[in-house]
């Protein structure tokens, strides 16, 4: 059942992005930025946590979960350290994704040559 929920949620978010892309003048960069802010906003009231609990990994894949992870790490640290914790914990949960993307893209950039 969780597979169906994953499919529906991830598909729905992507479809929403595609509809915005086709019907407005916003570019893909605008849409991903808007979605990240939306994810951060939803997690301010712990709504995104509920979605992940019900939907599983389907909610972790769209870029909205990037915003969720940012604020989630920040708030977790802030509960120990107060306001400075917001700055300390910001990248706690997203560090893996960002580091992996940087390292892999750098290695592959060195190894491969561009097609055109």
């Amino acid at each position: 059942m969780i597979y169906i929920y994953s499919f529906l949620f991830a598909g729905f978010v992507c479809m929403l992005g595609q509809i915005i892309l086709d019907n407005t003048k916003l570019s893909a960069g605008h849409i991903t930025s808007i979605f990240v802010v939306t994810g951060a906003f939803l997690d301010t009231f712990s709504i995104y946590d509920q979605i992940i609990a019900h939907v599983g990994a389907g909610a972790l894949v769209p870029i909205t979960s990037f915003g969720h992870s940012l604020i989630h790490g920040a708030l977790e640290k802030a509960s120990d350290m107060g306001f400075i914790g917001l700055l300390m914990g910001m990248f706690d949960l997203t560090a893996t994704g960002i580091t992996a993307a940087i390292v892999f893209s750098f290695i592959f950039t060195l190894l491969f040559r561009p097609k055109n």
Partner: protein, 146 residues
């Protein structure tokens, strides 16, 4: 007057089917990635006997690795052109934007080429994500106390 007519004609001939088709393709491909993510998470959790949370981190790294590799090998661009938001909105789009920017500016050297351009597209996601997460976190700390 003529301009108004022209706009009307353009509006009439705008392909409405492709919009619906695009949305459908994005829905299906995005959904497939969601299912792959869920399957991978469960596989990793049972293989390495780790918690679901750790397994989902492994899953994200796998997706990022594959997106970078396929982009570098050259055929991921065609997939993105076909699926559009189905591949841009998931984390694969983040990796794809960094990898393609890196490859595109490779010829300008390691510092001014790769170094300063890798975050050209992904940078806005990080910037607005961090600023909004900081702002919302601050609001929540002030209003709800953590």
């Amino acid at each position: 007057m003529e301009k108004v007519n022209y706009e009307k004609i353009v509006e009439k001939h705008k392909p409405t089917e492709t919009r619906g088709q695009n949305a459908f393709i994005a829905f299906v491909t995005g959904g497939i990635i969601g299912v792959i993510a869920q399957v991978l998470t469960e596989l990793y959790a049972s293989w390495f006997e780790i918690s679901t949370k750790d397994a989902s981190t492994f899953m994200l790294v796998t997706l990022i690795f594959l997106a970078c590799l396929f982009t570098a090998m050259g055929f991921f661009d065609k997939w993105v052109t076909f699926c559009k938001c189905g591949l841009i909105i998931p984390i694969t789009g983040f990796a794809h934007s960094m990898q393609s920017a890196g490859l595109e500016y490779k010829k300008e050297g390691p510092i001014f080429g790769i170094g300063s351009n890798v975050f050209k597209l992904a940078g806005s996601v990080i910037l607005y994500g961090v600023v909004s997460a900081w702002f919302f976190g601050l609001l929540r700390l002030i209003i709800m106390g953590g």
